[in-house]
Structures are given as structure tokens and as C-alpha cells.
């Protein structure tokens, strides 16, 4: 069989491009959302602890 007659794999490009961009958006949005939630939780806990500490200090 000649090289030109060998079956060649032709993959459509669209799924690869779509999955690549979808992954990027999901990864970035997921990270930003997770970071926002972590920051809100830690800042909330800090406010509570500071308030408790001030309550302990004031007679």
C-alpha cells in the first residue's frame, strides 16, 4: 500500500478549541470565586475574634 493510500486520522478542531477555552474560563472563575469565599470567611472570623478580644479588655 502506498503512503498516500494509508488511512489518516482527521480530527475536527472545534471540540479541542471549545474544551480549551471552556477549561480556562472554568478554572479562572472557579479560582476567583473560591478565593473570594475564603477571604470573606477569614475576614468574618477575624472581626468576630477582634470583637471578642475588645469585649474581654473593656471592663
Amino acid at each position: 500500500m502506498k503512503a498516500s493510500e494509508l488511512p489518516t486520522e482527521v480530527l475536527p478542531a472545534t471540540p479541542f478549541v471549545f474544551i480549551a477555552y471552556a477549561f480556562v474560563w472554568v478554572a479562572l472563575i472557579g479560582y476567583v470565586f473560591g478565593l473570594w469565599r475564603r477571604l470573606a470567611r477569614v475576614e468574618g472570623e477575624l472581626k468576630q475574634v477582634v470583637a471578642r478580644l475588645e469585649g474581654q479588655r473593656t471592663p
Binding site: E9, L11, A13, T14, F16, V17, I19, A20, Y21, F23, V24, A27, L28, Y31, V32, L35, R38, L39, V42, E43, E45, L46, V49, V50, R52, L53, Q56
Partner: protein, 221 residues
């Protein structure tokens, strides 16, 4: 810190606007003559790599500063940089094989560029694992790992020049056709702005967490 608190929302807003506009610019860009549509992964893959390098440098330089002066803020920035190097590095390592499968016919090749990129990414994973599981005092050892990770960046960048590799060379960026330049540099700016904004926010999270630990100790006393 107050300047950062004012600057960060602006940075992130501008980055978000740029990311929203990016797909329209990418769609309008001409298709590359040999690779066709799949080449458009380039507009996120390469900027993500640049953001990975920027985050790696942030981690390495902050780690070096921490090893030298032991300032807590340097440690916070180093941790933030490592986390972002892992995030953007993951984007590179996922979008690259998706592009490779169509362009080269294989998902992965153990060539110099791909292998060194994977190793560099794993070094920053090791940094995060050290910080997570290493216990008190692990920040010093992790800082050494961070410096080592940063040292790998020039090897990643120069790998396509130093060794024979299937990966395109760095010349590609400077020889882009006019229609491709605008979307590429737009996406690069978007990724770098996002990386900078996220670095500041993540460092602030670590600083807040450290303040919380100090206050909790003060309550217990």
C-alpha cells in the same frame, strides 16, 4: 496595604472586561495557514504561560526576600505566587495537549519544553504541599523550593532554543501576522493584569489569616 486595596478592584475589573472582549478579538483574527482553527488556542495558551512565569518570579523573589529578612509579608506573597503558578501552569498544561492532539497527532511528547514545564509546575505543587502539610517552620524550606522553582523559568523559556524540540520556538510571537498581534497582546495584558490582581488578593488572604491566628492566640492568653 491601603493602596493595594484601592488598586485591586480596578485591576480585576479591567482584567474582567478584557477577558470578556477577548473572544471577539480572537474570533476576528485570521486562521493560521497550516494549523487552521486549532491554532486559536494560542491566544490563551501563551499568555497563560507568561502569567505562570510572572507568578513563578513573584514566588521566587518573595521567597528570597523571606529567606533574607524573614518578613511575614514576603512569605504571604511567595505563597500567593506559588498558588497562581500552579493555577496558570495547569491552564498551560491542559490547553497545550489539546492543541497538540490536533496539531501533532499526540497528546504529549517528552520533549524538553513540555517536560521542563511539567517539572516546574510540580515544584510549585511541592511548595504548596510543604506549606499545607509541613507544619510550623515549613515556610523556610518552602521558600528554598520557591527560589528553585523560579530558577527553572529561564530553562523553560530557553528550552526550545537550547534543545531540539517539537514545540514552536519563541520567535513565533515576534513574527505574528498583523491580524494576530492585537488579540495576542490583548490576551497577554488580560492574563498579566489578572495575575497581578489575584496575587495581591491572595497575599491579603494570607496576611488576614496570620492576623486571625495572632488574635486567636491573644484571646486564649
Amino acid at each position: 496595604m491601603r493602596t493595594a486595596e484601592r488598586v485591586v478592584p480596578v485591576l480585576l475589573l479591567v482584567a474582567a472586561i478584557m477577558f470578556v472582549r477577548a473572544p471577539f478579538l480572537i474570533d476576528a483574527a485570521p486562521e493560521e495557514s497550516t494549523m487552521g482553527l486549532v491554532q486559536k488556542i494560542f491566544y490563551f495558551h501563551v499568555p497563560a504561560a507568561m502569567a505562570t512565569f510572572a507568578a513563578a518570579f513573584a514566588c521566587g523573589l518573595a521567597s528570597a526576600a523571606f529567606l533574607w529578612r524573614r518578613r511575614p509579608m514576603a512569605d504571604h506573597v511567595a505563597l500567593a505566587g506559588a498558588e497562581l503558578a500552579v493555577l496558570f501552569g495547569l491552564i498551560v498544561l491542559v490547553t497545550g495537549p489539546l492543541w497538540a492532539r490536533k496539531a501533532w497527532g499526540v497528546w504529549w511528547q517528552w520533549d524538553a519544553r513540555l517536560t521542563i514545564t511539567l517539572v516546574m509546575w510540580m515544584v510549585f505543587i511541592a511548595y504548596l504541599m510543604l506549606r499545607r502539610f509541613g507544619g510550623p517552620g515549613s515556610e523556610v524550606l518552602a521558600a528554598a523550593v520557591g527560589v528553585f522553582g523560579m530558577a527553572l523559568v529561564p530553562f523553560v523559556y530557553l528550552s526550545v532554543t537550547l534543545w531540539r524540540t517539537i514545540h514552536p520556538t519563541t520567535n513565533v510571537i515576534w513574527t505574528l501576522s498583523p491580524g494576530m498581534r492585537e488579540p495576542f497582546w490583548w490576551c497577554t495584558a488580560a492574563f498579566l493584569l489578572l495575575c497581578t490582581g489575584l496575587l495581591l488578593v491572595r497575599a491579603r488572604l494570607e496576611a488576614t489569616r496570620a492576623a486571625l491566628e495572632r488574635e486567636c492566640l491573644a484571646v486564649e492568653e
